[in-house]
Amino acid sequence: MDHGNVGGLGFLAPAPGRKGLLSWIGTTDHKRIGLLYMGCVGFMFFCGAALGMILRLKLMTPGSTLVGPQTYNAMFTLHGVIMIFLVVIPSIPASLGNILLPLQIGAEDVSFPRLNLFSWWLYVLGATLAVVSIFTGSGAPDTGWTFYVPFSERTTTNVSLAVTAVTILGFSSILTGLNFVTTIHRLRAPGMTWTRLPLFVWSLYATAWIQVLATPILGITLVLVFAERVLNLGLFDPGRGGDPLLYQHLFWIYSHPAVYIMVLPAMGVISDIIPVFARKNIFGYKMIAFSSLAIAFAGSLVWAHHMFTSGMSDTAVLVFSFLTFIVAIPSAIKVFNWVSTLYKGSISVEPPLLFSLGFIFMFSVGGLTGLVQGAAGTDIHVHDTYFIVGHFHYVIFGGTGLGMFAALHFWLPKIFGRMYDRGVAKLSFWIILVGMNVLYFPMFILGLEGLPRRYYDYLPKYAHGQVLSTIGSWILAVGLVIMFANLYRGMRRGPLAGDNPWGAATLEWTTSSPPPTNNFEVEPVVTHGPYDFRGVARHE
């Protein structure tokens, strides 16, 4: 159904009443709030990536070069805090989730539009405080993004303000999760049964539950760190009668499920994209949907695999090692089902599919190397080495990052009504994929050779891998610049895309591009599944 809004501004048109900046920062339209998140996340990504580039440049040669040790500690802390709390966690759920969730279930908006705007403002406040913490007090935080005690309680740097910022960001995440759970339960269009939900919605649902249940624990823990620093309590600091392992438990009870907050929505994106470009119904819809819930649940029970060398009891090490391996099952179900969907499909290799295939490759490498750490025996060897850094970046940047890029290439024509240059998009994909692997794969070798992570200096024997890794960061940067420039140009001046340029079957493609303020001209009635392509044609 073509609504003929091609070339119109839809929700991007100036709203009656408020104009200019006010029409954006005071909006309760979920799509505009999603774009606000996207703009902020994009800016913070640029900051975090710039820090990462400088870190890699410093690490290219051993010895004291480019920046001093204290600056280096502060920079990797900021790189982690910015990328985790300000970029990856809100990237897909808060930006694309906000834009697409009501569209995909046939609703006008989320359940609590004002709370949604409040969540964004909390994000802005948290981000501002995090930035302020760099330039005020006795120096930028130097603890690493994990704020491990007792160091985080004894360092004189600006940790108190940084943990306050992260706590506020946590509340933003909780409120978004609450909004999504309620929206999915209450605002589905007629005929939109649970088994007709797009798999992106299922992944947002599983993610939202983790946000609601796990994030408060991080908030409470960081409040306790703040209280211990300010009030001199003895909660975590062994010098004052506290238990540092208790901190690690509490921190990872949130922060391991947080990895699934990061990667589950990307899995949902991939599940939505692959059937469209294979022109086939998804293989194992229910298994993929329930595996999202299984990952959310089982992923919440494995946090202590970050603590195998901490002095935790051996019995607990065995139990958590076993539980960690269980998470591999639902993750593998997804990968096998995506590949099975492609099998004998009528595949058209468009940019969103390329980025999705890149996700599967990078996530598979990241997932399999995760099992090396899940096994307690091998984890002792690779713990706190570059192996961990490589694994984490494969999963989070190779997984969530490529998932986000796939989503941008898939839904940009819907959000802005314009198409980017597909040839340039494919070129940027290949450069990014090569850059990522040249950047992160040497880290596995360096880690197995025993190079500890976070160290300012290293022995000359590790220089070969560090040089290669730094060259990879340059290749990756080139690819990212090309990709973002192409997307930006497409968004501003690209050819009109039409309502359904990919021939997708989910609800958002039945409305105009960009969608109108209330999403649908008439309330949609759902009569088929999200990947039933019978009778669905491309509208370019």
């Binding site: 605002l187 392992l245 438990h249 019995t315």
Partner: protein, 99 residues
């Protein structure tokens, strides 16, 4: 567009009943203090958490009206409690076996 209306209206509870819940909460608070003064070893924590769970259940069921909500809402709250119990349980599983 709301496709399902929340039908949970108000459920007036008598002042006498609410006062009884309040009295139960005070009694359980006293019991928490009393239990903390007895050396039960590892089970001091279990006792404290057990009493706290009963207290929070009273608040959630009666003061927050969970008792009068539908099964979906009750299940959601139960899931939250189960996850929290597992997290606390596994954490103490480490402490209990630590040498």
């Amino acid at each position: 567009m709301s496709h399902a209306q929340n039908e949970s209206g108000s459920h007036p509870l008598s002042y006498r009943f609410l006062a009884a819940i309040w009295a139960a909460l005070l009694t359980l608070t006293a019991l928490t203090i009393f239990a903390a003064r007895i050396d039960l070893g590892f089970f001091n924590v279990v006792a404290a958490l057990g009493i706290a769970s009963i207290k929070s259940s009273l608040v959630i069921f009666f003061f927050m009206h969970l008792k009068y909500e539908n099964r979906t809402i009750k299940t959601m709250v139960l899931v939250a409690f189960v996850v929290l119990a597992i997290c606390i349980g596994l954490t103490f599983f480490d402490v209990g076996f630590r040498r």
